[in-house]
Structures are given as C-alpha cells and as structure tokens.
Amino acid sequence: MRRASALMLTALMVAALSSPVSAYLKLGTKLGTRTVTLKWSQLPIRYFVTDRGTSGVTSTQLQQAVQSAFSTWEGVPTAQISSQFVGFTLATPSSGDGATVIGFQNRPGLDRTLGATSFMIDTTTGAIVESDIFFNSAFSWSVSAQGESGSFDLQSIALHEIGHLHGLAHSAMGETELRPGGRRVIAAEAVMFPIAFSAGTILGRTLRADDIAGIGDIYPSSTYTRNTGSISGKVTKSGKGVLGAHVIAFDMQTQKLVGGFSLSDDGSFVIAGLDPGPHVLRVEPLDDGDIESFFDATLNIDVDFRAQFYNKIIVVPKAGGTGGVELKVVAK
C-alpha cells in the first residue's frame, strides 16, 4: 500500500536559524511503533527535470547543474548510489504523480526558502518512491562556473536538496550570526547545513566529511563497511540521558569533522562513517532556533548544558566501533 506522505523539508533558509554544532542526520519516519530511515530501495533514482528555466538559467543549464550535483554525491566512494536523468517534463515538482521531478517554481511567499524537497514513501517499508525538488525562482540564480555576484549558485543548492532526496536531513555543522532580517552563515562544514552560503559563492559545491559520512551511512558500499568505523555512547546530565545533543568527532590525522546526535531518551548516540584513527570528541547543545530544522518540534530537546570535550582520545577502529563513551554534561 502506498500513501503520500507530507514530509516537506524547508531546506536552506537564507535567514532564520541559529548557531553551531555538527552532525549529519538521517531522515526518518514512524511506521507504527518503529522508526525507519528514509531511503531509496530501488536504484538508480530516475528523475525528470522541468522544461522551464528561470531568469539567467535555461532548462538545459538546470539539467546540467542537477546532473552535476547527482554526480558529486555518486562520486562518494563509501556510498553506493546511482541516478538516471529520464528527460524533460512539463510537470511541476509536486508530490503524488509518481515521478521524481526537479525544477523551478515561483514561490515568492517563501521569502527565505531557496529550495525544498518533498517525498512520497511506502508506508509499509519506509522506502522512498518519489521525491520532488523545487528551486524558488523568486530568487536570482546562477550557473556560472565561478559564481555570480548577487545570485545563488544553482549547483550548490541542488547538491543540498539532492542530499535530502537521498534521505539526509540537516547537519548542524556550521556557525551563524544574528543580523537585521535573520541569520547569516559565518562558516559551515557540511553541504547539509540548513542555511546557505551567501549569494555569489560556489563554496557549496563541495561535499564535506560530514556529508560523506552521512550518505555512506544510508547507502553503505563495501568500502564503507571495510574502511570506516564508529563511535557510540551516551550523553548524560545528572545521570539522565540528554536528547538532541550534538556530538562532534574530530579526526586528529585528517582534521575531518563528523557529527551525530543523541537520538533517544537515554542519550545514546552513534557517529558512523569515520576514518580509523584517533579522534577528539566534543558535545554541545543545539540552540533553540535550530531545533525545528532538525527535529520534530514536539520532542523535548535538551539545550540546557555547556559545550565540552571528552577527556580521552577516542581511537576509531577499522570496520568496527568504539563504544561505551559517556559524555557527562553540566547545566549552563
């Protein structure tokens, strides 16, 4: 039985969210009493591109930017994914028609949303059966190889949205600052960070370690299974689990940053897809403004604790895991 599900992700809000921390996060949904990871069960992902461009971007350039973004994800050696461009379509990128459609839509009411991804899932298995992406043509777009001042880079935003399309949620690996009219990104180390880099830059065309770990976690290749490891443990405060804490693993040899969240009431977390070797572990709260970009607003996410480091260097084994880490945090 298939049923349309309204899992609408408002990704890449130009303004609106809050600050730092890391971590890739997988999209999930409740099927009865169990939570399943959203992923495609059938590959390649077959997609259409709308036969409409926008100011400064033709439909062919749109298709090329989308294809480049798919190729970037498919170039991750630790993930096994593939896609196929089926053709241009006059259909709009909206759920329920059985086809995955990617294209521009004019949504001036969404004045802080550059793009969004929606899904239709099989409610018996959690498998994604359709996913649509729209880019908001109310903004100015560019496909220039070097970027174009005042315009958002289409390939960068497509890379982010196609990350969602594959089942990745938002990463919190970034820093923002409050400015008149919203927040601006100071820095980010994940394509899946919810707020885009400024218009004019193409910094968002490159996947970071956090993105790569996340896509490998959902679609692991044999390389992922053989060559990466994980860290697991709990975040606790006064003996009780902390939900929604952000735990960052910093690889001391490669300087890569990959994160995870504590995703249960007992504070359990797992950070997978890590290169073997010594890591520094750091935990911090997710600021209030960020929560709805990462978790259901009904969850009781604990943000009342101080950022801190773990006092041991954690050595991640190859094709294995280091467990039993307990990060004891204290209230602010």
Partner: protein, 233 residues
C-alpha cells in the same frame, strides 16, 4: 727424601707462575678490544624525550564576507611525553673498529592533547591516550679503538642507522607506521677475560622520526639515551 719434596713443590710453583704470566699476556694481546667475528648481544632500558606531535585546528569553511581564513572551532595541541622502555640488540663485529647490529625497542609513551580556544567556550581540557611503540632498527657502529682505555676495556663509539616505527593506539586496533633515523655516541666497557665477556654499554643521540602517531606531518628530532648489559662472544 726431604730434598725431593722441596724440589717438587718448587717446580709446581714455577709452572703455575709461568702459566699465569702466559694467561695475562694472552688477554692483553688477543682480547683487549672485540675483534672481527665477535658477536655482541645486549639488552637494557631506553629513554626518549618528549616531543611535539603538532598543533591542529578543527576548522569550518568560512562564508564570503565574514572574515578571512577558516573559522576555527577549537585548537588541539598534542605532545608525546617522555617515556622509558626496554631494548635489545644483536650485533657482529666486522673488524675491531666496525660492527653492525639490529635491535628492537618497545615503550608505552603517553600522548596528551590540549584542547583550547573553543568557539562555544567549552572549558580547556587535556585528552590523552597511551601508545604501544615498537622500533625495529639497524645501525653501524664505529669504535675508536685508538681511544680505548682501562687496558682496552673501555671503547668509545659512534653510531648511525635507521629503522621502522610502529605505534599501536589503545586496544591495538589502529596502527600508525613510520620511519626512524638515528645517530649518536656511546661507550662499551668490557669486564672479565677470555673470549666470553660481559660488559656495559651506554649511548645517547638523536632520533629523527617521521610518521607514526603524529598530527603535524613533520620530522621530529627526539633525544634518546640507552643503558644495556652486553655479552660478547
């Protein structure tokens, strides 16, 4: 009867005195210093000074127009603490002056990482781990036989060589390997007489290490000293 007894006793005494004189002459002439073909086995303790393993930063890609350079989330400054270990060598004298040897050194050095400068004001902290270090090396020793002393018992030498460095992180599941080159000077002091002799050996020098547990990608110069009991045959 009494005359014969005295003569016999005298002759024995004379023979013993002659043998003793001969033996002393043989030690001094033949074994004052090791010679080609001698084999030396030694074992003892080694010590290596602490050294920097590099300063690195957890960095994020900075947005345009928000400043210059990467955004630093926090800094990590790592050091290898000084550590003592056990070492053993086996060598062969090619000549009185030159010997070649191979050896192994094992130690359990402590690595500390000072975490500081956190963008979210996390308190500074020192995280640590203990490594299991193994160095397998080969050396050439040149003995200054002309500078020997103590009747040939003490012989200074210089040495140089290189080897393989293996650092196993905690639980021995992750291994970092590298190379080591060393040079220095030392002293052999042999005791006893005859072909089979026991001695002591002490040396000090510098060990240049690349790879292994290191976060800087640079070559580190580490002062080392060793002390051993040596057996020569």
């Amino acid at each position: 009867m009494s005359v014969r007894i005295r003569l016999t006793a005298f002759c024995f005494a004379g023979a013993w005195a002659a043998m003793a004189a001969t033996a002393v002459a043989q030690v001094y002439v033949g074994h004052d210093i090791p010679r080609g073909g001698n084999v030396e086995i030694s074992g003892g303790v080694g010590w290596a000074a602490g050294n920097d393993l590099g300063s690195i930063s957890a960095e994020e890609t900075r947005n345009t127009g928000t400043g210059t350079g990467p955004f630093v989330l926090f800094d990590a400054d790592s050091k290898m603490k000084a550590a003592a270990g056990l070492q053993a060598h086996i060598g062969m004298f090619v000549s009185s002056a030159v010997s070649i040897e191979g050896g192994v050194l094992g130690a359990r050095p402590h690595v500390t990482t000072q975490l500081s400068g956190d963008a979210e004001s996390a308190s500074d902290l020192i995280a640590d781990e203990t490594l299991t270090r193994l160095i397998i090396d080969g050396s050439v020793l040149f003995h200054f036989t002309g500078a020997s002393f103590g009747g040939g018992r003490g012989v200074p030498f210089v040495f140089g060589g290189g080897g393989y460095l293996r650092d196993a992180h905690e639980k021995n599941e992750v291994i970092d390997t590298g190379h080591e080159y060393h040079a220095g000077a030392g002293l052999h002091y042999w005791t006893g007489q005859g072909k089979h002799r026991v001695g002591i050996r002490a040396d000090g020098g510098l060990s240049w290490r690349t790879g292994g547990a290191d976060f800087s990608g640079t070559t580190r110069a580490v002062p080392t000293i060793t002390g051993s009991i040596a057996y020569l045959f």
